[in-house]
């Protein structure tokens, strides 16, 4: 466990864990969702794609994870070790927190004793210890999302994708979960690909922010976010933070005028 995560070190094995080369995607009805999207995410990078609803961000993530196939171009990713957090927590209501967290490991054939131990660690990492026996309907929205995070963490993914996971949460839970996610990212060092329509969320979490145009989605701007990890929650109130958010917003504004 490294106390201070240093992007340079992670970049030194800078083999991209996820790479898009001129990926286009057209739905059967002729709607163009993505047009010639190219970018890559390396280990220790946390890339966020930001854009308004309906611009094709979720489609991009579905293509990246293999849930949808793209029409043109190349999409390379390590699908054997993939974490994916959905917009909803997608917990199985008939399973307890413990058994939900074990699910991915169970489906991938991790032996029972080992997956139980890994689940225990993941539950601890997301701060849900003591809630193992609860059913999803007894959890708050934030706790459900933590359970969902833990479920993916159990597999120690090398690529971790997030499809607007905090969109449905209240502002307070949302900020707290952002803090926790950064702590986990710092701890695990995966390659992160995050989708959101919230500019401050994108800036706070990422090493890089990519802006997406309206449909058909293209990458129209690429911002490096300089602050080191672990980031303190109060950088949100700094002038530099506001300035960075302003730049990102401005480029989105131009693209969606």
């Amino acid at each position: 466990m490294t106390e201070h995560f240093e992007p340079e070190i992670a970049h030194s094995n800078n083999a991209a864990r996820l790479e898009f080369r001129n990926v286009s995607m057209t739905f059967p009805d002729g709607t163009e969702a993505l047009k010639e999207v190219s970018f890559s995410v390396a280990a220790g990078e946390f890339v966020t794609i930001v854009g308004p609803s309906g611009c094709g961000k979720s489609t991009l993530l579905r293509v990246a994870s293999g849930l949808t196939t793209h029409s043109n171009g190349e999409c390379m990713s390590d699908r054997k070790s993939l974490g994916y957090v959905f917009q909803d927590a997608t917990l199985l209501p008939w399973r307890t927190v413990q058994r939900n967290v074990e699910l991915n490991a169970e489906l991938q054939g991790v032996p029972e004793a080992e997956r139980r131990e890994r689940a225990r660690q993941a539950i601890d990492l997301v701060g849900l210890t003591g809630n193992e026996k609860k059913y999803p309907k007894q959890l708050s929205g934030g706790m459900k999302m933590r359970t969902s995070l833990a479920r993916s963490l159990v597999m120690k993914p090398s690529v971790f994708m997030f499809d607007e996971p905090f969109g449905a949460l209240d502002e307070i839970s949302r900020e707290r979960l952002q803090d926790e996610l950064l702590r986990i990212f710092d701890h695990e060092g995966f390659a992160g690909l995050f989708i959101t329509h919230s500019v401050p969320e994108a800036v706070f979490l990422s090493t890089r922010v990519l802006c997406m145009s309206a449909r058909p989605g293209r990458i129209i701007a690429d911002f490096s976010i300089p602050w080191e990890y672990p980031r303190q929650h109060d950088i949100r109130y700094s002038p530099e933070f506001a300035e960075m958010c302003g730049k990102v917003s401005e480029s989105l504004r131009e693209a969606h005028a």
């Binding site: 849930l67 994916y84 991915n104 489906l107 991938q108 999803p136």
Partner: protein, 266 residues
């Protein structure tokens, strides 16, 4: 609240309703019907005397109950198993669903009871004919509930399983089946009631073969033995209620931890 008050609050209202019902029953007999028509609604104690305490009627009714109950139960089991296979097949393959589902819906509107005389021609007044009647009466509502459950699985959950590259059997065992369980129990409850109706009606049509409750009811009505007729009606109802409660209990055991429909009230 003490346990006693809690019990009182739970059981007093339905017991009061039951008491009122018995009261109305007596009132109809003693105060409303004229002297020469009182026999059409015999009072409760006469019903108990003549059908449950009278040795001959009691053994007759018991035999009928066992036979009808057995037919209903067999019919129910066969209908449920066939419905499960059918719904899994249809949920798993769109072509099979397209080929079969319209008929499953259409057959629900066919008055199966009109076919019972045909079954008696084909199979004779046998248990087979009775079971076939039961199965046909019950299977389509069960099947549609099952299929509805299997097809209403959340698409996010489906994606989650897809990302884990699971086999079809694993997807069925760990996702489709548990997700469909509430609908499956709804189907089973409807089916259980229908099977009792199917068994009774089949009895009605057959004057030979095993003696069932349906034929007894028919006989008592013809012979104007209204005390026994009431006894038979009570037993037939009790059979339906018993199966319903049994399934309700199993549903509650399996769903109460996670599904709203069976949630324990705090």
């Amino acid at each position: 609240m003490s346990t006693q008050t809690k019990l009182l609050k739970t059981y007093a209202p339905p017991l009061a309703t039951f008491g009122a019902f018995i009261g109305v029953w007596y009132a109809v007999h003693y105060f409303i019907l004229s002297e020469n028509r009182k026999f059409i609604v015999p009072p409760p104690h006469a019903v108990i005397d003549n059908s449950f305490l009278n040795g001959i009627a009691r053994s007759e009714l018991a035999e009928g109950l066992v036979n009808t109950g057995r037919i209903a139960l067999f019919g129910f089991l066969i209908a449920s198993v066939l419905a499960l296979f059918g719904s899994v097949l249809m949920a798993g393959n769109r072509m099979i669903e397209r080929a079969l589902f319209p008929y499953a819906v259409a057959l629900q509107t066919v008055p199966i009871l009109a076919l019972v005389p045909l079954f008696s021609v084909w199979f004779g007044p046998t248990r087979t004919a009775r079971i076939v009647t039961c199965v046909l009466v019950a299977i389509f509502p069960i099947l549609t509930s099952f299929l509805f459950g299997l097809k209403s699985v959340d698409s996010g959950h489906q994606d989650l399983f897809t990302l884990n590259n699971v086999s079809r059997t694993t997807r069925f065992r760990k996702l489709l089946f548990p997700a469909a369980l509430p609908s499956i129990f709804t189907g089973l409850r409807i089916g259980a009631g229908l099977c009792v109706i199917g068994a009774l009606v089949a009895d009605f049509f057959f004057s030979r073969g095993d003696l069932g409750l349906g034929r007894l009811l028919n006989n008592y009505a013809k012979r104007l033995e209204y005390e026994k007729l009431f006894g038979g009606v009570i037993l037939a109802s009790a059979l339906g209620v018993a199966i319903y409660i049994l399934i309700g209990w199993i549903a509650n055991r399996s769903l109460r931890d996670w599904h709203e429909s069976e949630a324990r009230s705090a």
